[in-house]
Every structure is written in structure tokens, then in C-alpha cells.
């Protein structure tokens, strides 16, 4: 996110936590149905929304349910009527939604769900890592990650814009780091209510809304003769999203003055070593990158905002001139080649002539802090690889006690 100057309405500036900012954005999107089950650190999002509904600020149906499985079922079915819907969860709640995650995307319902990233049990932990959402990367949902509270707020509007596009019609997760963003008060510029509504698609974008006048069957059986075709349709919708997303982001810039893209790059023009990461760690990493550049080290930071669909071509062309790329994974894929982000990045380069050396850093599991000295050691690790021309360990853990 970078701020561009231009003729814009004067923004209202407020102090909000990540959870409050998400609730504020959802209210401004004028959603029709909200259903949720509380879970730390997401709870404040739906608490605020239930207040907005109770005090008349938001004209929506708020459906309290007994589990996250039901919450996602309620909003998925509501979306089939053409309603704009919202839910939010974290960690175990997302895990409990698993069965419905695939159904929401396969039914092509434009559900928007905020995920406040939190580590998965066991041992039980309430703090941030990305194992909840990265585990759901194959569920057919678009995934957007915010770096700070402002981005979490902004991405909600863009999520509806993308989800409800007729060429996409896929659900979107807006991910924000637990506590680091969800419970931290930051300065947020709000967009104008009218601008928000004119930016968003007209309601009833879902093409076959449930209507008793025109009976139809939703979620039927499709066996060996049809199932495959529906999966290819979903793959195609993800491909379409690759062109819809930057368009939605450009239009958002017009009403907000804030620039978004698949990723935000700092220092790539002359760098030898680029670090790629998701979420709030980007702030620390960029700060350290700036210090290292002052010391004469050619380092860069790429913060990935869109993880699914993976912007393969765009990342490859942005990173092809690097000597070294370091993927920072805040989750583990046990027994795999490396962390999920690392695997995607390395695989993206396989067909490409110019291939940087690619390393994987796993950090921050269960909310373990990424300190500035950890950040520095990660860049130094990349610089060392650039010097020696070899990656010493395929996966390196940073911040863990030996």
C-alpha cells in the first residue's frame, strides 16, 4: 500500500484495532446477512457487527449459531439468494469449517470471510501464525493478506469487488494477523460511505438467486460424468481472478488514494536478495531492509497481498533478476519439500530461464515474535547465499531454541 496524491474527498481519520476496522468496512459494504461464532482473536469483529445491527446502524440479519460449521453454512446458503454476506473466524474455527469451505467455493457463492490468523492446536495457542489459512489454500478461496490495520480495512471492500465479479464468483478470505493487527490500535483512513457503495457491484450479482417462481436444484449429485467439469470451471474462475484483482485494486485506488497490487515491492530495482513474506512481518522486514540498504546491502522486500490465486507470472518477472529469493513461511507443511510459500515460489521459477537461488525461512509459529535482529539475520542469510552461491539448508527455522 502506498499513498498517492490526487483529488480525493477528505478522509475521516480514526483510531481502530484490526478487528474494529474490519467490522467498520463490512458495515460500509452494507451486507445483508452476517453469521458467526465467536473465537479469539476474531470475536471483536462480530461483536461490533452485532452492535451495529442491534443499534440500527446496519440493516442486516445477524444469525448467531452454535458452531463455525453452521456459520459458514448460513452465509453460503444466504449468498445463494443473492444476499451480500459476511462471516469471520480464526484457527480452530476455520478448521471446523473445512467441509463447508469447499462447498462455498464450488457453489460459486461470493462469500467474504475475515480470518484473524491464529496458530492451530495442539498445543492450544491463541497467537498468530498462518497455518490456519495456508492449510486452506487448496479450498478454492481467494486469499488476501493485510500488512496493517489500514490494509485489513481496505481489503474488505476489494474482496467484495473481486468475489462478486461475474467472471469470478468465488469466496474470498481477508487475512489479518492475530493480535499484531486484530488487537492493535492504528490510524485508519476511512473511505466515504457513498464512495464505498458506488465502488461495489450492485447487489444480486449471483446469477441464479433462489426464487420460488423459478425452482432450481443447488448442490446436486455430480458423479464421474460431470464432477470434473465443475472443478475445471473453478480453476478457470481463479484464472479470471488474476485479471479481475488488479482491476478491482486500481478502481479502489480512485476512491481511496491507496495503491494496491498482487504484491508490494520495496528496493527491487537494484537488489540482489529479495525476501518475500505475508502479513504483518512485512513492516519489520521493510524497516530492516531500509537500514541494510543504508549500510550498502542490496536487499529488497516483497510483501505478498494476494496468495491465491498465486500471481506466478507477475512474481517471476519481478524477481527474475535476483540472485537470491528467500520465502518466509509462518506455517509448516510437515514432511513437505518446504513451507507453502517457498514451494509455490520455487515451483513458479522451474520453467523460467533465469532462476534465483531460493531459500525457505520458517518463523513466528504460535506467535513467536520476529525481532529486528531476526529480520536482520534473515537478510544476512540471503546475502550469504548470494556470496557462496548455495543454499545451505532447504528449510531454516528462525527464532526457535535449539
Amino acid at each position: 500500500m502506498t499513498v498517492s496524491s490526487g483529488e480525493l474527498k477528505k478522509a475521516r481519520i480514526v483510531g481502530l484495532t484490526g478487528d474494529e476496522a474490519v467490522a467498520q468496512a463490512v458495515k460500509q459494504c452494507d451486507v445483508d446477512v452476517i453469521s458467526a461464532y465467536p473465537i479469539t482473536p476474531q470475536t471483536i469483529i462480530v461483536e461490533r457487527l452485532s452492535e451495529f445491527v442491534a443499534n440500527g446502524e446496519l440493516d442486516a440479519e445477524f444469525v448467531p449459531v452454535e458452531s463455525e460449521h453452521s456459520a459458514l453454512s448460513v452465509v453460503t446458503a444466504s449468498a445463494l439468494t443473492g444476499a451480500r454476506v459476511f462471516t469471520a473466524t480464526s484457527s480452530q474455527g476455520l478448521a471446523l469449517m473445512y467441509e463447508i469451505l469447499y462447498i462455498t467455493s464450488a457453489l460459486r457463492t461470493p462469500v467474504v470471510m475475515a480470518i484473524v490468523n491464529r496458530a492451530l492446536s495442539a498445543p492450544i495457542n491463541i497467537h498468530c501464525d498462518h497455518s490456519d489459512t495456508l492449510g486452506a489454500r487448496d479450498s478454492g478461496w481467494i486469499q488476501l493478506y493485510g500488512e496493517n490495520v489500514q490494509e485489513a480495512y481496505d481489503l474488505i471492500f476489494q474482496a467484495y469487488k473481486i468475489a462478486e465479479n461475474r467472471n469470478v464468483l468465488l469466496p474470498v478470505m481477508v487475512c489479518l494477523d492475530g493480535f499484531t493487527l486484530s488487537h492493535t490500535l492504528e490510524r485508519v483512513e476511512l473511505i466515504d460511505d457513498q464512495d464505498a457503495l458506488s465502488y461495489l457491484p450492485k447487489k444480486l450479482c449471483y446469477p441464479f438467486p433462489i426464487n420460488p417462481e423459478r425452482p432450481a436444484t443447488y448442490g446436486p449429485l455430480a458423479l464421474t460424468d460431470f464432477y470434473f467439469e465443475f472443478k475445471v470451471q473453478q480453476a478457470e474462475a481463479m484464472r479470471q481472478a488474476l485479471s479481475v484483482i488488479p482491476q478491482a485494486m486500481r478502481e479502489y485506488e480512485k476512491i481511496s488514494g491507496r495503491h494496491y497490487y498482487f504484491f508490494d515491492a520495496y528496493g527491487l530495482e537494484d537488489a540482489d536478495v529479495a525476501v518475500v513474506c505475508l502479513g504483518s512481518a512485512s513492516g519489520t522486514m521493510r524497516y530492516i531492509a531500509r537500514e541494510l540498504r543504508k549500510e550498502g546491502h542490496k536487499v529488497a522486500l516483497v510483501k505478498l497481498t494476494v496468495y491465491r490465486p498465486f500471481p506466478t507470472e507477475e512474481l517471476v518477472s519481478a524477481l527474475e533478476d535476483m540472485k537470491v529469493v528467500i520465502a518466509m513461511d509462518r506455517s509448516l507443511s510437515f514432511g513437505a519439500v518446504g513451507g507453502p510459500l517457498f514451494e509455490d515460489l520455487r515451483s513458479a521459477f522451474y520453467d523460467h530461464e533465469k532462476r534465483p537461488l531460493i531459500g525457505c525461512i520458517v518463523y513466528g509459529l504460535g506467535g513467536r515474535d520476529l525481532t529486528p535482529s531476526d529480520a536482520r539475520s534473515i537478510f544476512k542469510y540471503g546475502l550469504e547465499i548470494a556470496k557462496t552461491g548455495m543454499v545451505p539448508e532447504r528449510v531454516k527455522f528462525v527464532g526457535v531454541r535449539e
Binding site: 457453489l107 460459486r108 464468483l169 441464479f208 436444484t217 443447488y218 446436486p220 470434473f228 467439469e229 470451471q233
Partner: protein, 98 residues
Amino acid sequence: MSSKPGWREIPIGAVLLEPGSSVKVRTGDWRTFKPIIDQSKCVRCLLCWIYCPDASIKVIDVNGKVDHVEIDYEHCKGCGICERVCPRNAITMKPEGE
């Protein structure tokens, strides 16, 4: 397989826009035992019609009155319930292909 529509031609999300299309699915192909009605024993009590879970007992009317019952073999899955409920033992299940 190639006679069926491709992925570009079918509604997204597997929505079936035409109601009642299950009639077109030949569930009769799933059958291994086939119910045969002995019309000479049948008294048209219609218990089989009530119990059949697949609405596969067809009641044939002539001049507004029940004339006889037949089986819709396109949809009968061969569960054998009709055989069990028939008070006249008018229905026997015969292996398919016999």
C-alpha cells in the same frame, strides 16, 4: 462421454436450472433384482404404490378407475420393498439378466 456438454456449456456451481430433472436419470440401471408382478394374483390394493420409495409403481387407470399396476423399470432400483409389502405375494424379485 463426448456427447455430454463440456465445462464451458454447463451452469456454474452445478446448479440445475430445470426442476424435476431427476426423471431423466435412469436409476433403473442400478438394479440387480427385478420385481415382476403376477397380474393374476394382484388385487390392486396399491400397498406397493404407497411403499415404493422411488415412485416406480405406475397405476394404470381406465375410465377413471384403477385397471392394473405396472413397474417403471427406468427408475425402479430393485429394493424389493414392494415384494415384502404385497399382501397377495403377487410380486417376485428375479435376478436381472435371467
